[in-house]
Amino acid sequence: MGKINTFEQLFEECISKNKQIYEIAQENMAQEGEITVEEVRVFTNKSLFAMKEAIQSGMASKELSMSEMCGQDCWRLQTRYKKERAIFGNTFEKIIEYALATSEENIRMGKIVACPTAGSCGIVPAALVAVSEDYNHSEREQINALITAGEIGRIIAAKVALAGAVAGCQAECGVASAMSAAAICQLRGGNVSQVLNAAALALKNILGLTCDPVAGLVEVPCVKRNPFLAVHSITAAELALADIKSKIPFDEVVDAMEQTGALMSPTLKESSQAGLATTKTALEVQKKVFG
């Protein structure tokens, strides 16, 4: 079996073997790591479990981060939903709560799963866990979905390093939303083409996203960006499940992301030298936190 490094190769492998993405991905991971498919799934389940733990701890905490910029937004959201429900209903509430819970847990030095990075750790868990709870997806299905998400991230990472310093937030929260879109599409019974289109649509619609964190910390705008992009991933999955396709094939979208990242000014790639990071308020915060 040849090494799969593009989505076209992945698609053809799935079609020719009549398998789903997670099946191909777990077999390849097992082969590469010299372990069994069962061990791949046990590893994945550990991450899944840690994601759920982070959601629970995050939902229960009001503790601020060291900088005191973030840490209480999930609590604010929960307070609102005790009085008034969200216009989009229960699952929507959960998704934005879980994304904030996880991201806030990250910035207060809680335990999270970097998926694919720590700054984007809230996106995949929020969508995956909320949808699984509300639509009764089994643990087996959730593991399938997380492996699918991981394979999307792996193939993107074969081309572009998943780091804000390399390609901006496209490569962190953007890739997380593509992974999440694929996971949700898989969970809701999408076929291989639909799963890949979900991921392509999510990524395509965040191209150009910069990484300009205030005071160089993984807090503003990162924490709130997680619920935004978790919801974004659901939009992509919904479109794809209706057989709406990305006009630009996924591999080409990734190429476009790589090029956009290369063209992006270094001042907007995790160096906090422009954008939100150099606004008047951001500079005041920076002075307060670091002197």
Binding site: A25, G150, A163, A165
Partner: protein
């Protein structure tokens, strides 16, 4: 660079907020601990550049200290490490500096105790790290392989003597790097191996007359 695997994307399970500034710091500390081996009396950490400037907001200092005290990247005790009994068992100090010649996320660790040791390293991104200097020797240790560090008299035939011992015990060398401070004086050899080795092999290398010092450095688990 090692290619990214499925597991890399859906892990690590770690204490936040940053893979390079928190998890990477823990791993640098852990690997330094594996190199120093003994319990130090005092450790001085000198943080450079981005580590110095934004470390405080990312728990970089906590991560480094937790690492040298043996905590793993997902240990919840990292957050309050300064208040822990574990931290009270040793002295430590943090210093900060700017130096554009250094990596953005560089740290120098000076261990004092029965022996003194200087260990410098970098957090190179996504939690990956590299130890770049041990005492006066340039090295490259990533924590991904079990590694043998040998300091010896710089003279012909040393590599072959060491490699023949490994060959005899059927150990495969993944990589080998040498450095020396001056011709004919001290040299260092870093051998990364597939699998693990036992103490007998370390002893055999130690018995080579021109070898001053051998250390077996275990790889990091995650």
């Amino acid at each position: 660079m090692k290619k990214t695997t499925l597991f890399d994307i859906i892990s690590p399970i770690m204490i936040g907020p940053s893979s390079s500034h928190t998890a990477g710091a823990v791993r640098l500390g852990l690997l330094a601990k594996n190199i120093y081996k003994n319990k130090p009396k005092k450790i001085t950490f000198k943080l450079y550049n981005s580590y110095a400037h934004t470390g405080k907001g990312h728990g970089t200092e906590k991560g480094l200290l937790a690492g040298v005290l043996g905590l793993r990247v997902d240990d919840r005790r990292i957050k309050n490490i300064f208040e822990s009994d574990l931290a009270k068992s040793i002295e430590y100090e943090f210093q900060y500096a700017d130096n554009f010649k250094q990596h953005p996320n560089a740290v120098e660790m000076t261990f004092e105790g029965e022996t003194n040791m200087f260990i410098a390293g970098e957090s190179v991104g996504a939690g990956e790290i590299a130890i770049r200097r041990i005492n006066e020797f340039n090295v490259k240790l990533t924590g991904k392989y079990n590694t043998i560090l040998i300091v010896y008299k710089d003279m012909p035939g040393m590599i072959s003597q060491v490699s023949s011992i490994l060959q005899y015990h059927n150990k495969n060398i993944a990589s080998l790097n040498c450095d020396r401070n001056a011709k004919g004086k001290e040299a260092s050899m870093i051998i990364s191996i597939d699998g693990a080795i036992d103490n007998d092999i370390v002893k055999l290398i130690q018995e080579i007359p021109e070898v001053y010092f051998v250390s077996y450095i275990e790889k990091l688990e995650n």
